[in-house]
């Protein structure tokens, strides 16, 4: 208990040093949280759902967006084209599955990654142009096509983080990394 107290005291002191008002060099201009948001226009979505915007989308809406925006590269129904196949069975990959067949249903481990990545980087030629509702709809469509969800409820900030991805069951932290950072846990 005494040792824990000392550790906590140490951490508090460390935090105090790091948080000195004005910093060490007084270089860099402070921003208000509102100003920060002007730079944070494709915000990261954390695995617990933090960062997800308001709005929602359904499987049917997603199919329409997919056919208009994604089909040209990823093929009909996400079966693959010039670019990656996206749709397969909802069972984790084995070592007999070729990597060109690593898809959302058998390989992606976090549902929030879909929203984060599609809004951030897709479509390849025009990233950042989809509305939040369109992104939610695409996520719903792709998860449904992969057999991960039944499509009975729309995707939104509440439903998306609760989706269980089949491939999460086989994901582990690299053992060398675990040794280097004993505190590290995968979400």
């Amino acid at each position: 208990m005494k040792r824990l107290g000392l550790v906590l005291l140490g951490l508090a002191l460390l935090a105090g040093v790091l948080a000195q008002p004005g910093g060490r060099y007084q270089i860099g201009t402070p921003l208000t949280e509102q100003e920060v948001q002007r730079w944070n226009i494709r915000p990261s979505i954390l695995p617990d759902g933090r960062g997800l915007p308001p709005g929602q989308g359904t499987v049917d809406e997603g199919e329409r967006v997919y056919n208009a925006q994604c089909l040209g590269c990823h093929g009909a129904n996400g079966q693959g084209g010039v670019f990656n196949r996206l749709v397969g069975e909802p069972f984790p990959v084995t070592k007999d599955v070729d990597s060109v067949d690593f898809v959302i249903g058998n390989y992606w481990q976090y549902p929030t990654t879909l929203f984060d990545y599609i809004r951030r980087a897709m479509p390849l030629q025009a990233p950042g142009t989809l509305s939040d509702n369109e992104v939610y709809a695409l996520v719903a469509y792709l998860l449904y096509q992969n057999g991960v969800i039944d499509g009975s409820e729309p995707m939104n900030a509440q439903t998306l983080p609760k989706v269980q991805m089949p491939a999460r069951a086989i994901l582990e932290l690299d053992p060398t990394t675990q040794k280097r950072f004993p505190w590290l846990r995968l979400p």
Binding site: S44, L46, A121, L124, D174, P175
Partner: protein, 435 residues
């Protein structure tokens, strides 16, 4: 090298037979001079110029771009390791890996924002960052997909050293330690992670532990003494010593401090390793030891007589302390000499003098780092990693020298139970388009 020196060298190890052949070859070659070669220039050369270019006769030394790539806006090309000397990669030949093309960024407009779990969100101009204390280090950057041609079975007989291990480059990087910026902003208690973001079209992000950032991560603005090249992140990139290249976010514009990793697309659906036990490993950050013989190497042609076997070695765990070379297919090994390296996490050049007697043989190299890590054989590698894995291949690369002096891939064809599924020389994509 004059003939007397050659004689001295050969007397140390050469068989008499090899020497006779070699001497005959030299006598023939010595008569083939063009008339132009006998005297210096008789007219003025080119004028001074503001920015230098290499000789017009060196234009063939270029990065390798795989014909299998689906687009040149997202993919990788390879540093031509088998055509370079020393250890520093010329900036123009540093391998590239992008996810949404190379952005054009005006440095006067560019900003770096640090926010999230900090006492004071801060915005930095490039001029701000250059005022802060600077650090210059020579460090390798290696793509996690380096070695991807090792996943082919049977081995690709057109393989070169460039296509085997050319997703690595070594540069002098100058920048401000990220720890300084984080101390300026004041990290809040409970923060564990950073999410750096690029200004490219893919707004590329990754997760980086705060602990590593406080140790040795650089926010770099210079490469080999001048501003970063656009394809290397101009005007600002992360350099994370010893870790996989894909975590070193280029065109750096924003760093969010959090208590949780983001699990971005490029640390989940890509840059994760499939293992032989059926698991998938995440966050395989530290690059394992690598070595590659660049001379003689795949598709080169050698003659009998003296050769300096040359190659490159590096490890993300620390300094390379030993490189061994086998000249007999792995039966026996001898120690190569290492040129001094300026930094423990930089590429080192290894060398071994050798007189080739004209008999077919297989040569290979393996490196050890200061932590005792070394490279596996192909079989040892696939005992741990699954045959459908895409990353972190660091098995020993062999080159077979035929009796005709032609050098080709000397790797073994693996048994069906270990064999990677990808067959033949035509790849299916992957970050370099090669695997």
């Amino acid at each position: 090298m004059n003939r007397r020196k050659l004689l001295q060298l050969l007397s140390k190890g050469a068989a008499a037979g090899a020497f006779v052949k070699l001497s005959g070859g030299l006598a023939q070659g010595g008569e083939k001079f063009s008339e132009k070669a006998f005297e210096p220039m008789r007219f003025l050369g080119a004028e001074l110029r503001e920015y230098g270019e290499r000789s017009e006769f060196e234009k063939g030394v270029v990065r390798y771009i795989s014909p299998n790539l689906r687009t040149r806006h997202s993919g990788a090309n390879f540093t031509p390791l088998d055509k370079l000397d020393g250890v520093i990669t010329p900036s123009s030949l540093h391998f590239e890996r992008h996810h949404g093309g190379v952005p054009t960024i005006d440095p006067a407009e560019h900003r770096l924002v640090i926010h999230g779990m900090v006492e004071r969100p801060l915005i930095f101009t490039l001029a701000d960052l250059k005022r802060l204390p600077s650090v210059t280090r020579t460090l390798f950057i290696e793509c996690a997909g380096n070695g991807q041609n090792g996943y082919r079975n049977p081995p690709d007989m057109t393989l070169t050293a460039t296509r085997s291990r050319g997703l690595v480059s070594n540069s002098s990087w100058t920048g401000v330690p990220l720890a300084i910026l984080l101390k300026e902003a004041g990290v809040k208690e409970g923060a564990r992670w950073l999410i750096p973001e690029g200004a490219d079209a893919a707004a590329y992000t990754r997760s980086l532990p705060l602990e590593k950032a406080m140790e040795d991560v650089l926010v770099a603005y210079a490469q080999n003494g001048e501003a970063l090249r656009p394809e290397q992140g101009y005007p600002l990139r992360l350099v994370v010593p010893g870790w996989e290249g894909s975590i070193m976010v280029k065109w750096l514009r924003r760093i969010q401090v959090t208590d949780m990793p983001v699990m971005a697309k490029d640390e989940t659906s890509e840059y994760t390793d499939t293992m032989a036990d059926g698991k998938v490993h995440a966050f395989t950050w530290i690059m394992e030891p690598q070595s590659i013989i660049t001379y003689p190497s795949g598709l080169q042609q050698i003659q009998r007589g003296f050769h300096e076997i040359r190659g490159l070695a590096w490890s993300g765990h620390g300094r390379i302390v030993r490189v061994e070379i086998s000249l007999d297919g792995g039966a026996t090994w001898r120690r190569a000499s290492l040129e001094p390296s300026p930094d423990p996490l930089s590429v080192v050049r290894f060398k071994l003098g050798w007189v080739w007697d004209g008999k077919e043989t297989i040569i290979m190299s393996r490196a050890w780092d200061e932590k005792g890590n070394t490279q596996p054989t192909q079989e040892e590698f696939f005992a741990r990693w699954a045959r459908n894995n895409r990353y972190h291949y660091n098995a020993i690369q062999a080159w077979r020298i035929g009796a005709d002096g032609k050098v080709v891939n000397g790797d073994k064809t693996l048994s069906a139970s270990l064999a990677p599924r990808r067959l033949g020389a035509v790849g299916m994509g992957g970050c370099g388009g090669e695997s």
